[in-house]
């Protein structure tokens, strides 16, 4: 199994697939109802000027999450992108 990273730690433009959402309660509900559920493909779009919140492209739209929320989402990063971003 590939290594999972937290969405919070992902770099700009990195892509990946959500594997697990550990948020519960209201936060979990809000995250899921916006379509951040396992097996969804995402791409980090950018971060606000103070590095938080983070903007994520998911299912044809852009969603912003605070780092608190992004720390509850585990993503399997696409291999090609990882190499590319680590090089950069």
């Amino acid at each position: 199994m590939k290594k999972l990273v937290l969405m919070r730690e992902m770099l700009k433009n990195q892509e990946g697939t959500i594997k697990r959402v550990s948020a519960t309660g209201e936060m979990g509900r809000r995250i899921r109802e916006m379509g951040l559920v396992p097996n969804t493909h995402i791409q980090i779009q950018g971060r606000a000027p103070l590095k938080d919140p983070v903007a994520v492209k998911v299912r044809d739209f852009v969603l912003t999450l605070r780092n608190d929320e992004a720390s509850r989402i585990y993503v399997e990063v696409d291999p090609s992108e990882t190499a590319q971003d680590q090089g950069a």
């Binding site: 519960t24 209201e26 936060m27 509900r29 995250i31 912003t64």
Partner: protein
């Protein structure tokens, strides 16, 4: 056969619901509130193919849980009012997420129609949707449309009528959530059906589902049968433990995942994507507009630009309003005899309501700019960029718009600011924002600042204004922090916000938005604010001067008149009171006309005196020998001054005796540590109506004789010369004015957006902050020896 149907429009925020609603109903719409809450309810009527279709706009939601007011409102409307059909407005360019709500509506079982909006956007992004296949797979009628350009609206209504003729039943569509959950659902359904709380309004399986999701509203209803409630709770608990042990997920999470699974299974088949460029236009715009360095700079420029535009463009219309109210006042003054009725209508009603309505152009333009930012999608970016800063103070990214509008850049208005708090979903964040909004420097405070700055800080004008802007932000943010860490403590709400794609707003949409909100403001001015204005007028009018005192002033006047008529050189020219009255009239007419040539005072010695008086008033008399009528004119001007003085004294005496005046005097007990004596207190009481009243009331209280002179200028001079006043005193009053109470209009709006309790609290809270801060400034300043 039924000829009438009610349809409810549901949909995600930004899916185009409002646009669709406007396209369907045209101008025939009404706005109300859902009972008991401040969520707007819009409804309208349309006639199509012999059917009367009533259209209700539900609040925009992503889901149907019980966690936000909007969702509860939408859900209760569907369940309680039983609309004949729910039309789910779905954004075709963003199908998966939009269908999440559709799935939940299907689960609820209400007759449903999908309106596939934004087909143009989908096409331009290379997303092709097989509408027929979608309809078959989903088991629902689907109508493609482009609400913004009215495409598909007729077809939608055709479909609505078609469905209405069939008069469909509610039919819950069960979705499978995996074996474990499905079994639990069956069992809980069994329990519910057996019991007394069984309610045919709700589909049983849906209630069971809500129990598993931990929905507070539904479990609350079931708990009315305690035994049953326990049984269900136990079943949910078992499932919860089982799920955590096996898949390490809450049932609720699993349910959501299955819904999305169901959706993706369908969209995989019916949506075809051409290879699209990975960045659409909107993403490219975001690269610049939310860029880390450029984004904030552009944001300031954009906000400032809209702001400057609002003020620039509203200047002229505001002067029209002012002229209108002035003309109205003159009209009333000339029709009604002097007395209480006239005073009530002129100073109570017209000044009060006019003061509020006078702002309509400004407020309208401000609402227009807000609508522009909302409809274009930029507002969400502002919230995104500033969230981190505001969060530290316990606010939300979306709070910033309210603060800016209320006077974040000097000169806004708290009323639209208060209304703009509606975008805040979390009640604590919203109320905190409401409570700190009145600290911003709204336009009505500016005349007060201007007057005091002119008197005591004339050299540092610009620097003072900048300082005051910074101070108001500082006070607002720290007050927010204070409130959020004491009174409204609570966890930060999750911030999961969509950045909708940038869209060019339509003029029609903007105008409708603007007008709706402006109308709301106008209605308020016409009702509650009118009542309050009358109350305040009463306080500043009654009880009037006692007859003896009035007689004394009348005596002073008579003496002044006689002294003037009897003075040397006058006695031969102006004979008797009748001629004096005629001279007065001529002089005033001339003064109003300004242009002596065209006004043509007419023939005769009185006219010559009047003309000369006017000349002399404008130009200092030179060294030359005075002509006889000029000498009279000089005397005449002296006489006028004396009369003004008496009038001023009378007004001052009258004001001092009124309820407001007495309050001002009592208040000295509290305000003397701030250095405010009764005259300032009266002005501050008057400022509750609207802050700019502080200046005019101070004018009256310092017996300026209201009829003469440009008031701001002269009250400035007056305070400058007064030994009790100094820069420290002026600064204390500036800060007190900045903080002390929201004006009536704002209080009313705060009440509307929250409750009377919070509205009253905001008055008390602001007063306390104002008092505390002013006390520190005044006493600190005195200690530092600034008080002289």
């Amino acid at each position: 056969m039924k000829r009438k149907i009610t349809i409810a429009l549901a949909g995600n925020p930004n899916a185009g619901k409002t646009t669709a609603f406007n396209a369907i109903t045209g101008a025939r719409q009404h706005i109300a509130n859902y009972p008991g809450v401040t969520v707007e309810k819009k409804y309208g009527m349309v006639h199509h193919r012999d059917f009367d279709i009533e259209v209700v706009d539900l609040p925009g939601t992503y889901s149907l849980t019980a966690y936000s007011l909007e969702e509860i409102v939408a859900r209760n409307f569907i369940v309680d009012e039983r609309p004949g059909l729910v039309v789910d407005i779905v954004d075709a360019s963003n199908l998966d997420r939009n269908l999440y709500l559709a799935v939940q509506l299907k689960e609820l079982g209400v007759p449903l129609l999908l309106a596939l909006n934004m087909m143009d956007v989908a096409e331009s992004r290379g997303i092709a949707i097989d509408v027929k296949a979608l309809s078959e797979q989903f088991g629902l009628p689907v109508v493609p449309m482009v609400a913004r350009s009215n495409r598909g609206i007729k077809e939608l209504l055709d479909k609505v009528v078609e469905v209405a003729q069939e008069d469909p039943e509610w039919r819950m569509a069960p979705i499978s959530y995996g074996m474990d959950i499905d079994r639990a659902l069956d069992e809980i359904s069994g329990i519910i059906e057996k019991s007394s709380v069984f309610d045919p309004k709700y589909p049983t399986r849906w209630r069971a589902l809500k129990c598993l999701e931990g929905d507070s509203q539904i479990t609350g209803l079931l708990k009315r049968d305690p035994a049953l409630g326990k049984e269900i709770e136990a079943r949910c608990e078992t499932l919860y433990r089982h799920m955590m042990n096996t898949v390490e997920e809450e049932p609720e999470g699993v349910i959501a995942d299955h819904r999305y699974g169901y959706i993706t299974a369908i969209t995989k088949q019916v949506v075809k994507r051409k290879i699209e460029s990975r960045l659409n236009v909107s993403d490219k715009m975001d690269k610049v507009l939310t860029n880390r360095a450029l984004g904030p700079a552009l944001m300031i420029a954009i906000l400032y630009g809209l702001y400057a535009f609002t003020f620039w463009a509203s200047e002229v219309p505001i002067s029209w309003f002012e002229t209108f109210f002035d003309v109205l006042k003159e009209g009333v003054t000339s029709i009604l005899p002097e007395g209480l009725l006239r005073s009530l209508i002129v100073s109570g009603v017209i000044d009060g309501v006019g003061g509020v309505l006078g702002f309509v152009p400004l407020i309208m333009l401000m609402f227009f700019c807000i609508a522009l930012m909302e409809d274009s999608g930029y507002m969400a970016r502002v919230a995104y960029m500033l969230d981190r800063v505001l969060r530290w103070f316990g606010l939300h990214g979306n709070s910033v718009m309210s603060l800016v509008i209320s006077g974040g850049i000097s000169g806004g208005c708290a009323v639209p600011g208060v209304m703009a708090t509606r975008v805040l979903k979390d009640p604590k964040e919203r109320i905190t924002t409401l409570l700190v909004i009145p600290f911003m420097n709204c336009g009505a405070k500016l005349p007060v600042y201007a007057m005091l700055i002119a008197a005591f800080f004339a050299k540092d004008r610009a620097r003072m204004m900048f300082l005051l802007t910074l101070l108001s932000w500082g006070f607002a943010l720290f007050a927010a922090k204070l409130i959020r860490s004491t009174l409204l403590r609570g966890p930060k709400t999750p911030f999961v916000m969509e950045l909708p794609p940038y869209r060019a707003p339509t003029l029609k949409g903007l105008l409708i938005h603007t007008w709706e909100r402006t109308w709301e403001y106008i209605k308020k001015a016409g009702t509650i604010i009118l009542a309050f204005s009358v109350v305040l007028w009463t306080m500043m009018t009654f009880p009037g001067l006692s007859p003896e005192k009035r007689a004394a002033f009348e005596q002073d006047r008579r003496e002044a008149r006689q002294a003037f008529l009897a003075s040397p050189r006058v006695d031969g020219v102006i004979q008797g009171a009748a001629q004096l009255t005629a001279l007065n009239r001529m002089y005033l007419t001339l003064r109003q006309e300004k242009d002596i040539q065209t006004a043509g005072a007419g023939e005769g010695h009185l006219a010559r005196v009047a003309e000369a008086a006017l000349h002399l008033e404008e130009t200092e008399p030179g060294g030359e020998v005075l002509k006889p009528h000029e000498a009279v004119a000089i005397r005449y001007l002296e006489f006028r001054n004396r009369m003004n003085q008496i009038e001023g004294q009378e007004q001052q005496a009258a004001l001092k005796g009124t309820i407001a005046g007495r309050m001002g005097q009592w208040l000295e007990i509290i305000t003397s540590p701030l250095g405010f004596e009764y005259r300032t207190n009266i002005a501050l009481v008057g400022g509750f109506a609207a802050k700019e009243v502080v200046v005019s009331t101070l004018g009256t209280a310092y017996s300026l004789g209201a009829s003469d002179g440009e008031e701001t200028g002269s009250i400035s001079q007056r305070l400058q010369q007064d030994p009790d006043w100094n820069p420290l005193q002026a600064f204390t009053l500036i800060i007190f004015t900045m903080l002390y109470v929201p004006c009536i209009a704002t209080v009313i709006c705060i009440r509307r957006e929250s409750s009377w309790r919070w509205a009253l609290f905001s008055i008390g809270f602001n007063l306390m902050v104002a008092y505390g801060v002013s006390l520190v400034i005044r006493q600190g300043g005195m200690l530092l020896g600034l008080g002289d």
